[in-house]
């Protein structure tokens, strides 16, 4: 009888491990409740202690929008309903910049635990994206208010939103994984990244209209910027109110999946070294 019991126990054999990318995937599936707890932790600790908690998530992009509108509406006067233009850009941008930075900080928090117990290390990164998705949805509320206020109608094309959010999440997850894999070894990557983000934002059609950037480098500046496609998708569906062309959708899908795969492979290959780094 004891024999039978023993056979049911899970066996770990360090010489018979599968591919790290696959091991990590099945590991995260088993630890999915941990991912939810981590998202919960992030949201509760962010929103619990301040009355303005949820409101901040909405006020932050609104405030930025207001300032940018006052400053730039003269410069980019030709852009139709500039507040909505800026806000749509900012929502996508904030999601990307906040989640990728959060991936690094939560991996750093988790690395203290990685040295003590076995955990699928991607749990922390996936949960950062999950938290970002909730914040993204909350930040759609002020966008809706502004759209109603400025008379920009919500079109049927808004039903594309879940697909766009999925692609944006995959892309951000890929970048977050890649950054986190190295920031465990070099924490100053987080600081270098802040500077890169600043440049990246001004080179993307977030504040600056697409037409202004389109002329630079024969349009290559935009073409090589993966975020350009994701911002454009979101703007078309929400701000322009048209369904994006299939070619754009396919390009964005390809980029997002490729980024995710690269990030996942690099991270899972590196993460065994985390515990070696004392």
């Amino acid at each position: 009888m004891e024999n039978k019991q023993n056979n049911q126990k899970e066996i770990y054999d360090s010489s018979k491990r599968g591919h790290p990318a696959w091991e990590e995937f099945t590991g995260v599936l088993r630890y999915r409740d941990l991912v939810f707890q981590l998202i919960r932790r992030d949201l509760v600790s962010r929103y619990k202690r301040s009355v303005l908690g949820v409101a901040w998530t909405m006020l932050n992009p609104l405030g930025t929008m207001l300032i940018l509108t006052i400053v730039f509406s003269r410069v980019f006067g030709r852009v139709e309903s500039y507040p909505v233009f800026v806000l749509t850009g900012l929502i996508v941008w904030n999601f990307f910049s906040q989640t990728t930075q959060h991936c690094m900080s939560s991996t750093l928090w988790g690395s203290g635990l990685f040295k003590k117990i076995y955990l699928p290390r991607t749990s922390f990164i996936i949960s950062s994206i999950g938290t970002g998705i909730v914040n993204f949805i909350i930040s759609l509320v002020p966008l809706l208010v502004i759209m109603l206020f400025t008379g920009a109608p919500v079109q049927l094309s808004a039903i594309m939103l879940p697909v766009i959010l999925l692609l944006l999440s995959l892309f951000s997850l890929g970048v977050g994984l890649l950054l986190s894999a190295y920031s465990v070894f070099f924490p100053d990557i987080a600081e270098i990244y802040t500077i890169i983000l600043m440049a990246w934002m001004y080179l993307s059609p977030v504040i600056v209209p697409e037409e202004t950037l389109a002329s630079i480098l024969n349009g290559w500046l935009l073409k090589i910027n993966p975020l350009f496609y994701l911002i454009k998708l979101f703007r078309m569906a929400i701000y322009d109110g048209v369904f994006p062309p299939i070619s754009l959708l396919l390009t964005a899908t390809g980029i997002s999946f490729a980024m995710f795969m690269i990030g996942w492979l690099v991270f899972t290959n590196k993460s065994d070294e985390f515990a070696y780094y004392v």
């Binding site: 360090s14 010489s15 630890y31 509760v44 117990i117 100053d188």
Partner: protein
Amino acid sequence: MSKQKINNLNDNFDIVLENVTVSYQLPDEQVRTFKEYAINFIQGKNKKRSFLALDHINLKIKAGEIFGVIGRNGAGKSTLLKVISRVLIPTKGRVVTRGRVYPMLQVGAGFHPELTGRENVFLNGTLLGHTRIEIEEKYQDIIEFSEIADFINAPVRTYSTGMQARLGFAVAFAWQPEVLILDEVLSVGDVAFQQKCRIRMQEYRENGTTTVLVSHSPVLIASLCERALWLDKGKIVALGESDKVTQGYKTKMGV
């Protein structure tokens, strides 16, 4: 050094190590930033030396025994535990374990100060690999064991160190582990609570839990363990009955 030939894992052993070697790559200078790394790279200075934390360790730990590991600081004790608990993949050699390995977390590790005790029970439980449903089943037991039922809805930042320790242990002790890893953590909490933890450990042991206990204290190892291992500089100095091993250790250390 014992040179036993180890075959595959059979029913009598829960943990088997075959020629396990762990070598850390340490840079000559501690490089902590990408900037330094880049500068050193250009100057061709990123030399590394390797440090053997474990050197061809062969070891079998029987199912259901309490096994002690003793040695000085830097002897490789913690590395041995990491290898067994799957945190560290050995550089060379093979580790086989049967059953869920359960490393005891240090006090407060994995707690979030802003969350309530209840929320932290769920966070900590999932960190240990349990599902939400498993935690709900054990929730009452955890609260009773921790003796902090009155404060369970207060944020953990308001807890004393002792309360945090009790809650952490209550979560960790809620499930019978198949392999329990203890790294000198039992010295927290008051005497009564320590006693409670010991009783729970004893119950688990009678039900078949394999325990690996690491300590600096030969007295503790001799009193709790049947067999023990003495490690020094990543090598096995002695392996066998805990009385003999700890006696040898005491003589060598001049205690």
